[in-house]
Amino acid sequence: MEIKVPALPESVTDATLVAWHKKPGDRVERDENLVDLETDKIVLEVPSPASGTLKEIKVQDGATVHAGDLIAILEEGEGEPAAEQPAGDAGAAAGTAAEAQPAAAEPAEAPARREGRGESAHKLSPSVRRLLEEHDLDASAVSGSGRDGRITKADVIDYLKTHDETTEREATREAPAEAPAPVAARQDRRVPMTRLRARIAERLVQAQQTAAMLTTFNEIDLSRVIDLRTRHREAFEKEHGVRLGFMSFFAKAAVEALRKFPEVNASIEGKDIVYHDYFDIGIAVSSERGLMVPVLRDVDAMSFADIEKAIETLGRKAREGTISMEELTGGTFTITNGGVFGSLLSTPILNPPQSAILGMHAIQQRPVVVDGEIVVRPMMYVALTYDHRIIDGREAVQFLVSIKQSLEDPGRLLLQF
């Protein structure tokens, strides 16, 4: 049976086949993960649809694939390890061919060689396929100058030339090291960006170039929130089975503010402003692979416990790499917390196509003035980066003030004003 690349969500056109977990001849069980595919946002697993033996791998590690591409052949059932078969076939063919001309052995081997490139091979011309094969290159490494971005033979030749030069340069650099005293070679280590990082980089730059981004600040006295948490923490955990964090407070405060200032919850599409009647709030999570923003849907309908539970689940999935595309897309507003790393104040960057993002920071005991007296309060600076194309300065400032007020007097969240 054919193993194909699963459907990729709309904004994702292709994926990189990162690593096969099985090799031809291995036994696989149904639902066992065969291979990881990396997209712009996440890493997808491809589970085996049935139990059997992985007969043939059509696309190698590092290749670019598209939804529906054939990537492997699985032999269902209790078939014996196929490891012997390919060798057997080639051996038999070579055996008979040896009697004829040596040229005949070529056809038996050639198909196996060519198929290694999989679906992407069909977009590559024969000379390009040969060159990539000979030099063990991946098509994604070469930029195409032909029609529709196709790779031409000239492109590959160019690539080989420039990469030959760099290896030559490195070689000559190392040679003189022999002469006087051995000097540690000062070399640059060139590591291509992972797909995820490259995509993140691209979107960050795009955000900066598209929106008129400004950041406004305020500070929040979290003493009342902390007080609430201290008093009801255990009971909450007992009742709901999840810790009461700060995020639920901020999320709820954000919903209130978003209700009051709908532009902050809106996005620009072309020449239109799209107002969203729902509140899907992304909570930025940091993982080894990079920053991810799982989205909580309809936060206005969620209770504090719901919010905390959702954050816990999504956060874990993001760190484990099991989060799905759907859980990362959409979102009308984002909250990011640099405070966990110690940030006191920062200017978060927009998460396009959203028009605003709220940045939380470290909570610091600071002296502030209340009723003419200096007191020590747990203060947090908050930042709102917003797209000035649709959010005016006044709205942005007042949005933050609303959040501040909701959190400095949490009763307001209860009474929704």
């Binding site: 011309s125 024969p126 000379s127 390009v128 040969r130 100058s145 032909g146 029609r147 196709r150 031409t152 033979k153 000239a154 030749i157 160019d158």
Partner: protein
């Protein structure tokens, strides 16, 4: 007939009618004004190409080629033909039928695509207004958001041999002879001169072609042109190179042509004289004084690479603008203009426009000649394969000619493909596609070609470029 349109196209030749249909398919309201009048006084769409050029010449070339093959080739197949008669009138009738079917076809396409075909003359005024003067009736002013000028070209007349429509004729006239001239003089050994000369030579005329330049077909690759010249001479065409016509005098029998050649001043007596020295852009009555467009020094309408004139919203395509005067180039420009008007991305890749000459053997090429590559300084390699080594060509008894590939030495890019031989015009399509996709010679080498076909010759020629031809010594 409404007064305003989205697009008005002036001219319904291969440039104009295609532009009109494409614009209509893009959702525009389109009118196409055309003033072509045939010899019988009736209007027909299709311009020069359908009525007085491409199509009628191909019809006569085919008919005359069959006569030639019946007389000279059939016996090789063991077929004996006796009492072969040629009825030129019937040939002309067949040609006229084909032309009528195709020009009627355009009228049908206009209807199907809801293009309003307006018979009469069109003149561009200021502000994208067009003055339309119908065949019979008063002129009226039409408004358009966009105008596409596609007025085409007309044969260049030599002052020393002016047309008289009878004995001294242009290419159209040469297509309309109702009997085979005893001796036919042709001034100009370009595409048209060679094709017309071939037609009447095969039908029995003694053909003498006078070419002012010292080379035959300067635009073609030298190897191809030289071999072609040999073939034409062998067919009985007399070609004088370096022969400049200085005068032509009507007599009661025909025309006396005076020319100065390699051997000094000469005269030539012919029954009919065809002047085929090229075509000039035709813009008579097309542009009003204040329309904003000025012709360049050669009479072309200046345009950019999107066929836009300096007047916003006015495009010009085909033979009335720069570039090779080829029907397919006009059509592609027509598509481009219509697409640009619709706000789409569109372009014409002028580097891969093929040229075809429908002599026998046929000649076709795309890209650069060897000389052009040499002059560019780029290191190159070439590979040739003669049809005499091609099985299909042998079976067809058409083994004259070869395929020649010119490629870059550094990155193997195909720079030019040149074919002299059977079906060259068809075979060149593969080369055009390959070059459009920046294919390398190796790509052609590694693409399967059916056997036995003429197309294999291109395969072998590409192998020959790397000295790896399999069916011919390298």
């Amino acid at each position: 007939m409404a007064k305003s349109y989205d697009v008005i196209v002036i001219g319904a030749g291969p440039g104009g009618y295609i532009a009109a249909i494409r614009a209509a398919q893009n959702g525009m309201r389109v009118a196409c004004i055309d003033a072509w009048r045939n010899r019988d006084g009736k209007h027909a769409f299709g311009g020069t190409c359908l009525n007085a050029g491409c199509i009628p010449s191909k019809a006569l070339l085919e008919s005359s080629e069959l006569v030639h093959r019946a007389r000279h080739e059939f016996s090789k197949h063991g077929i004996t033909v006796s009492g072969l008669e040629v009825d030129v009138g019937a040939m002309q009738k067949r040609k006229a039928t084909i032309v009528r079917q195709l020009t009627g076809g355009i009228a049908g396409l206009f209807k199907a695509n809801k293009v309003e075909g307006l018979v009469g003359r069109g003149r561009l005024l200021a502000d994208r207004k067009v003055e339309f003067t119908p065949e019979s009736g008063e002129p009226e002013v039409l408004e358009a958001r966009y105008v596409i000028l596609a007025s085409g070209s007309s044969p260049i007349e030599l002052p020393v041999a002016p047309f008289d429509g009878e004995a001294i004729v242009d290419s159209w006239g040469a297509l309309e002879f109702d009997e085979v001239p005893r001796r036919l003089g042709v001034i100009g050994a370009g595409i048209i001169g060679l094709e017309l000369g071939s037609v009447w030579s095969r039908l029995g005329a003694e053909v003498v072609i006078l070419e002012a330049l010292d080379e035959l077909l300067p635009a073609a690759d030298r190897d191809i042109a030289k071999e072609a010249e040999k073939q034409f001479r062998r067919q009985g065409l007399t070609i004088h190179l370096g022969a400049k016509v200085t005068g032509a005098r009507r007599t009661d029998k025909g025309v006396v042509v005076e020319y100065s050649g390699r051997d000094g001043a000469q005269t030539l007596e012919v029954d009919r004289l065809v002047v085929a020295v090229g075509r000039r852009p035709y813009t008579d009555g097309l542009l009003a004084e204040d329309c904003g467009i000025r012709l360049d020094e050669r009479g072309f309408i200046p345009v950019d690479d999107g066929c836009r004139t300096r007047v916003k919203g006015v495009y010009a395509i085909g033979d009335c603008v720069r570039g090779p005067m080829l029907a397919h180039k006009a059509s592609e420009e027509g598509v481009m203009a219509a697409d640009l008007i619709a706000g789409e991305v569109a372009e014409v890749n002028y580097a891969v426009v093929p040229s075809v000459i429908y002599t026998a053997p046929e000649i076709a090429w795309v890209g650069k000649t060897e000389r052009e590559v040499q002059e560019s300084g780029r290191a190159y390699k070439t590979g040739s394969f003669p049809f005499v080594a091609n099985g299909r060509a042998k079976a067809l008894e058409q083994t004259a000619g070869m395929v020649k590939v010119v490629s870059a030495a550094d990155d193997d890019e195909i720079l030019g493909v040149h074919i002299l031989g059977p079906m060259a015009g068809e075979l060149i399509a593969e080369a055009v596609l390959a070059m459009e996709f920046s294919a390398s010679t190796e790509d052609l080498q590694r693409t399967i070609h059916a056997h036995p076909t003429l197309a294999e010759a291109l395969h072998e020629a590409s192998l020959a470029a790397d000295k790896r031809a399999l069916n011919y010594p390298n």
